[in-house]
């Protein structure tokens, strides 16, 4: 069954008529996602990939009862798109857009919290409950329905891990890419909480990277609250301090947030940390066999 989304989830695509939006709408529809509406201001009344397009999220929600939104609009409209979804009553927003200013996200997060709205991303691949619903840009074919929860700050790194899980003949309950931005919507702890509660999830793989302290917070949470096994990986052991490695999130400054710090904290919390990315699948098999 997985968490947050399933086959009943009704999705509205914000920015559906853009290049990215249209392309991934088609991929999501192919996967079986119930995309009930698209939004592009000024294009209301048209269709895109046979999905009805509306001028506003409000009208899309009114007409189609969409409950979840995925955002493909360019960064300088994305903040407004998030607010628009939240004000229209959407309770789960998945923001794919990369390059939203950090202070915008700070403001967005304060507001969404007071509205009880969940945000995945921005700058993330999205979320998938294999076999039921895919909301995002991840390659469909690597996924397999199953009982492993995945949560990750990185895109392609997640694909790598999912690929390994599928390769050892296991599958994913839900895989959530929380994105690599300094201020993400949902964080590790939010997702771990959901997986811990989910009766269809047996174990969780958590993929972190250098920078920030969300892995440390996750470790605390795992230590105090989780009974399911958690396998962890942290990218960036060899990254030099002070340099920004692509993701805004992947920067170490002032000696905090190094891979070594994170790994040590995670191990102490009982997380099974894999040092070599290539061995995540095998480690998972070993862990569940015990």
């Amino acid at each position: 069954m997985g968490v947050l989304i399933d086959k009943n989830t009704k999705v509205v695509v914000q920015g559906i008529t853009g290049g990215e939006g249209a392309f991934h709408t088609e991929r999501m529809l192919e996967y079986g996602t119930r995309i009930v509406a698209g939004v592009t201001p000024g294009k209301g009344g048209t269709e895109c990939k046979k999905v009805p397009v509306f001028n506003s999220v409000e009208s899309a929600v009114k007409e189609t009862a969409a409950d979840t939104s995925v955002i493909f609009v360019p960064p300088h409209f994305a903040t407004d798109a998030i607010y628009e979804a939240a004000y229209a009553g959407i309770k789960l927003i998945v923001c794919i857009t990369e390059g939203i200013p950090a202070l915008d996200m700070m403001r967005v997060k304060q507001q969404l919290k007071s509205m009880g709205v969940r945000l995945i991303g921005p700058n993330c691949p999205g979320i998938i409950t294999p076999g039921q619903c895919k909301i995002g840009i991840m390659p469909s074919e690597i996924h397999n329905p199953g009982r492993i929860g995945i949560v990750s700050r990185s895109g392609t790194l997640t694909y790598e891990v999912i690929h390994q899980v599928t390769a050892v003949n296991m599958g994913q309950s839900t895989a959530i890419g929380i994105g690599g931005d300094p201020i993400p919507g949902m964080d590790f702890v939010d997702c771990l909480e959901l997986f811990q509660k989910d009766s269809e999830t047996d174990a969780v793989i958590m993929i972190g990277e250098i920078g920030g302290n969300s892995e440390e917070k996750a470790a605390d949470y795992v230590k105090n609250n989780m009974t399911k096994p958690v396998i962890g990986f942290v990218a960036g052991k060899t990254a030099p301090p002070g340099k920004r490695m692509g993701h805004a999130g992947a920067i170490i400054s002032g000696g905090q947030g190094t891979a070594a710090d994170k790994i040590s904290k995670m191990k102490k919390a009982g997380i099974i940390v894999v040092e070599n990315l290539g061995f995540v699948g095998k480690t998972l098999v070993n862990t569940l066999e015990q």
Binding site: P75, H76, E98, G99, I100, P101, A102, L103, D104, M106, R107, K109, Q110, I137, M138, P139, E141, I142, S152, S154, G155, T156, L157, T158, Y159, E160, H163, G180, P182, I183, I207, E209, I210, G211, G212, N213, F233, A235, G236, K237, T238, A239, P240, G242, K243, R244, M245, G246, H247, A248, G249, A250, G254, G255, A259, E275, N276, L277, G278, F279
Partner: protein, 392 residues
């Protein structure tokens, strides 16, 4: 994005933070003219400061205090064109192309610290204040954390008077100096928010003998993601401060960071790129760079990426690791083949393709007749690249 001290001071001045008047010079001639004018206008001491994107300039010889024109000329001659080297610049150092010339006779009573940074933990801008300025704040944070007062500011309602009072009190200021400090904190916060800074720092913030506050040094980092609403700030970029390859990469929307090893890496996705570097390192090798071709990679960007990789003479082997998703592996293969045509491909190449159209990509590579090794997994690919680099 980092900017120069003088640029940071100009931004701060726009937000009501008191800074000294200064001159900027990029040549001996204009430097001497500026110094002459300042001495003639009655200044008794001048400070000449190298403008490079690095701290610790004083210890590295980038700052000089001069008392007359002869000393000024000597200092200008020494600093302009020097390579400033310290821990922050790395061994190759930073070429000094500009100096800031400023009054050196401010009558320093006390050196304070004021800064603001986006705290990822609290997800708030955090203002820092310390009565112990002029030293590395991170050292103070480690040795005497109580000496630093912090205030996390909620974006709404913003910086409040009682928070300013708390910070000012911690600086040990009263009366006019306290009021001046209030304006500094308010200006710092306003600048941070209005210009989308990721960090701003005044160290030292100086209390002069006559009770004024002045920002003697200034540091501002800007959030490049917000440049769409700050076209003027974008102009503050100084590409001289970046390596040639990094500038080349950024012109092609590639994330490239030069590192010390000898295995050139090309990966899609920052996380996978770091993990690839880590795997190389696990097998005893050292990555020559971080290179994320991103989600929008196509034949053209891959070609450029490949050229950038090979332009680095320390690269002894190249490892391509692509997990196709949005990026299609066949297009990546196409880009590699194109690049190999354009440049002389004189170093061994290991390619690992997975995900969308991986099979098609591999086919293309094989057909192309390019000399390369392929691998099914990242681990295998990394192992192979390490072996080739040592052998090469």
């Amino acid at each position: 994005m980092k900017i120069h001290e003088y640029q940071a001071q100009e931004l701060m001045r726009n937000f009501g933070i008191p800074v000294l008047d200064f001159e900027i010079s990029d040549s001996m001639k204009s430097g001497i003219t500026a110094a002459d004018q300042l001495f003639s206008s009655g200044k008794k001491k001048l400070v000449i400061k190298a403008q490079v994107h690095a701290g610790g300039r004083g210890k590295a010889g980038g700052i000089a205090v001069v008392k007359n024109l002869i000393e000024a000329e000597k200092a200008l001659d020494r600093i302009l064109g020097m390579r400033l080297v310290n821990r922050q610049t790395g061994p190759e150092g930073k070429l000094v192309r500009k100096v800031m010339i400023v009054d050196g006779d401010t009558g320093i009573e006390r050196e304070l610290y004021a800064g603001i940074v986006l705290d990822r933990d609290r997800e708030r801008p955090v203002i820092l204040a310390s009565a112990e300025g002029g030293v590395d704040i991170e050292e103070t944070a480690a040795s005497n954390p109580d000496a630093i007062a912090t205030v996390a500011v909620d974006p709404f309602p913003g910086l409040l008077m009682f928070q300013i009072r708390y910070l000012t009190e911690k600086l040990g200021l009263t009366g006019d100096a306290a009021r001046s400090a209030s304006r500094v904190f308010k200006g710092l916060y306003d600048m941070f928010i209005k210009l989308d800074c990721s960090q701003a720092e005044i160290n030292p913030l100086v209390l002069t003998h006559d009770g004024n506050l002045v920002a003697l040094d200034a540091k501002v980092n800007l959030d490049e993601s917000a440049f769409f609403r700050h076209p003027d700030l974008k102009e503050l970029r100084d590409t001289h401060e970046e390596s040639e390859l990094e500038v080349w990469a950024s012109e092609n929307s590639l994330n490239y960071v030069k590192l010390d090893g000898n295995i050139g890496c090309m990966v899609n996705g920052a996380g996978l790129a770091m993990a690839t570097m880590d795997t190389i390192s696990l097998h005893g090798g050292m990555p020559a760079n971080f290179l994320d071709v991103g989600g929008g990679a196509n034949r053209e960007t891959v070609t450029e990426a490949f050229k950038i990789l090979l332009a680095d003479k320390s690269v002894e082997a190249v490892l391509v690791n692509i997990f196709g998703g949005i990026v299609r592996c066949d297009r990546v293969a196409d880009g590699i083949i194109q690049a190999a045509k354009d440049v002389h491909m004189d170093r061994p190449l290991v390619v690992r393709l997975a995900g969308t159209n991986a099979v098609e990509g591999m086919e293309l590579l094989k057909k192309s007749g390019l000399s390369l090794k392929t691998a099914d997994s990242l681990d295998e690919a990394a192992k192979c690249a390490v072996k080739l680099a040592i052998g090469g």
